[in-house]
Symmetry: C2
Subunit: 455 residues, 2 copies
């Protein structure tokens, strides 16, 4: 067979050992916190029926689905005219029945509906799996990437919002990243639009609030006018746009303006209740009410969350909110849920940028035994057996190669210690341990190797 120069599809990545150890450090930390709060693991298939996926992510999303070609004679069922017209758009649903999952939310909703009779509600689940999007690849945007989602469905209790906030607190504390949690509430945004008589302009208003800092009030007012919001509305909006200070100060001002909107006041009550819980528990996290926060506005119905790293410039590293109709699209209405998703790739970039990862060499093999001769090899294998029984990652060089070559291998692999059992050591029942960082050698009784402090 001719030699091929191998490569991988654009937008995908290999994760070599060093990256994997770091990635696993993130996943293990996140998973560990999810578990502490009683969330249970779930995995769904990589491929879903296209009927499950299509129409759930908007027209643009449909285009970004990776579709899987039907097996066998896939062209057999395509009508003559569609083939003749080369109508890719209408041929694709005929030759593909399955697609790769685009996110973890729709498969979760599908799972809940499909297994509704076995599930105990409230159902607390976490899911850490890759998703695929046929996006144009670019820096920081991949066609295959992991999502780490944690959700609870089947309860409207605000205690779950509070629980998710505590998870945010503990995950980022564990990872060593200083963060701000921004919160908002879709009901407040609706209340604002109601207060100015434009419930249809919720998105425009949120975008305007977001732009205030950059372009100033006059420009924002201009923009709002052009969107059809009148001078009266803009006057009402002014104090909201200029809201600043402490969360409770903001809420005080908002309460006056939104007193005309029942929904708005409900939203304020929710935010207040969450803040009260968080204070009473003593959650150690910067929380900021941010009315410009609107992620997934069409989707969330209550709380909206977003997490930003304080010391590193990058988009949000975690976000989510409450949705009241996740499962309605699959015929199971009125199931309220709340969830957040951690962005593993961005968290990785933050940790790399701020040098927050623990030393990788400490997470893998601790000691490599040199292989001098058959007798040395035999004693090393014995030592290895007891080290491994104690859970200490350890190895032996596989051949009786030149010592320089063996040492080079330890260095290149970043193995922090080298074990040596030569003739003298065998006679004395000892092992010489060399610290590869500072060159120091220690000679210890062979049976003490399992108690050696490999730092």
């Amino acid at each position: 067979m001719a030699a091929q120069k191998p490569s991988i599809p654009s937008g995908t990545r290999d994760f070599g050992p060093v990256q994997m150890i770091k990635r696993n450090y993130i996943f293990d930390t996140i998973r560990g916190e999810f578990r502490k709060f009683g969330y249970l693991p779930l995995e769904t298939p990589s491929m879903e029926k296209l009927s499950t996926l299509l129409g759930k992510y908007g027209e643009e999303g449909d285009k970004l689905l990776f579709r899987i070609l039907n097996s066998g004679d896939f062209l057999a069922k395509v009508p003559e005219d569609k083939l003749a017209e080369r109508d890719s758009m209408s041929v694709s649903p005929i030759i593909c029945e399955k697609g790769l999952r685009y996110d973890l939310t729709v498969p979760f909703a599908r799972y809940v509906v499909q297994h509704r009779n076995e599930i105990v509600f409230p159902f607390k689940r976490y899911q850490i799996q890759p998703v695929w999007r046929a996006d144009r690849p670019q820096k920081g945007r991949y066609r295959e990437f992991y999502q780490c989602d944690v959700d609870v469905v089947g309860s409207k209790s605000l205690l779950y919002e509070v629980e998710l906030i505590q998870i945010v607190e503990s995950v980022f504390k564990k990872l060593g990243i200083n963060v701000t949690l921004k919160i908002n509430n879709r009901k407040i945004l609706y209340g604002i639009s109601e207060a100015i008589g434009h419930t249809d302009k919720m998105t425009d208003i949120t975008v305007a609030i977001d732009k205030l800092e950059k372009i100033g009030f006059d420009k924002v007012a201009e923009e709002l006018l052009s969107k059809g919001i009148d001078a009266d509305g803009i006057r009402t909006l002014k104090p909201i746009l200029e809201l600043s200070g402490d969360n409770r100060v903001k809420i005080g001002i908002l309460s006056e303006i939104l007193s005309v909107s029942k929904t708005g006041m409900d939203g304020i009550k929710e935010v207040l209740s969450i803040l009260d819980y968080v204070d009473s528990i003593g959650v150690d996290l910067d929380i900021e009410l941010d009315l410009s926060l609107a992620r997934g506005l069409n989707y969330y119905t209550g709380a909206i969350f977003e997490v930003k790293a304080k010391d590193f410039a990058i988009g949000s590293i975690c976000g989510g909110g409450r949705y009241d109709d996740l499962t309605g699209i699959f015929g199971m209405p009125d199931t309220s849920g709340v969830g957040i998703s951690f962005g593993a790739d961005r968290i990785y970039d933050v940790m790399e940028g701020l040098e927050l990862f623990p030393d990788v060499s400490k997470l893998s093999t601790k000691i490599l035994f040199l292989n001098f001769d058959p007798a040395s090899e035999r004693e090393s294998l014995k030592a290895l057996r007891s080290l491994r029984n104690k859970g200490i990652p350890s190895e032996i060089y596989p051949d009786q190669a030149k010592i320089k070559k063996q040492m080079d291998y330890a260095n290149k692999r970043n193995i922090p210690y080298v074990g040596m059992i030569g003739e003298d050591e065998i006679k004395a029942g000892m092992i010489t341990v060399k610290n590869m960082e500072n060159g120091m050698q220690t000679c210890i009784p062979a049976e003490e190797i399992v108690n050696y402090n490999f730092e």
Copy 2:
């Protein structure tokens, strides 16, 4: 939107919480042992270029690849005549450039060649990821399943065969499964065919050895004759077919017959050397030289391994061997490697069948606090905070619902303990802990909850 009755593609599976906890128990155990032996994690993309995958698994394998439809106007590039002829076979490579990975071996080979200049050889890697095959789904055969591979490339040292045997020993000891490790060597099989003058009939001979127990020597001889092996050859083969007893007895007999074959004698030397290592280390594992073992005969060049569960009837649960030309297909010849793969699905079935899984309730939430009223909720949230800080999975019922409903929830979730902080407990600074299995209640000082023995 109209309600859809959701389901998943045939041959795929959802893994709910209980299955996931058990599956993770298997994966974590396997991963833990891989790490102890110094193997490093690797992950490759789910999709590879079809040029990487095609031709690597035989004609049948090519058909079983899941292909991913090109994005956009995929029909644009298809020649007129191929569309008109509805020639699915020749159209598919034009409309699909990517496929889902079929195993972890080819992507590993691709990775090694692509990253040869960064890799430190011998390169010890493990990889635990799903693979996809468009096989006809049936009991125990899925279109998406996990493989757990551990390989080392870039060394011919038999110490790695020995290391893999030790991994087999420790993984199955940890999981509690009694196993037999069958070993064979492709060089011995070649030697046998050479001894009877039919190096072209290696597969037929191996199949014949395999059938001996079932159909007896006469029938096997008949079959071999029909395959073109003459009476002389069958006479030479007889003592090999009837080989029994201890591994070293078998090797003694084999050595006489194979003395005419250099390759055969090399194979015997390898097996002997491996057995010597294993004995000297004291590996506690039933190892059986089995000449009928021929998995991947076209692929392996030295040792062949297979693991069978002793107490449960199922196919092999782990297998592998040495290959001398893994990376040749990608233009990097002479890179020897050896590896094994653990079959997570079958291991799951064995553990389920023999009831070897630890109690799932012990692996998830330990205690649920009942929610009596706002004061009880507040104190419970405090207790939860300290429990979670100590890493103990714990929850609170999210509403002040009827106590029966809250208790039901704990029962259905299999949560082993319930925490109660009522008026009396608050006054006394105590928590009442109820064991849900035996109904026993204990009252302890609130600050002692973190030291409670949740078994």
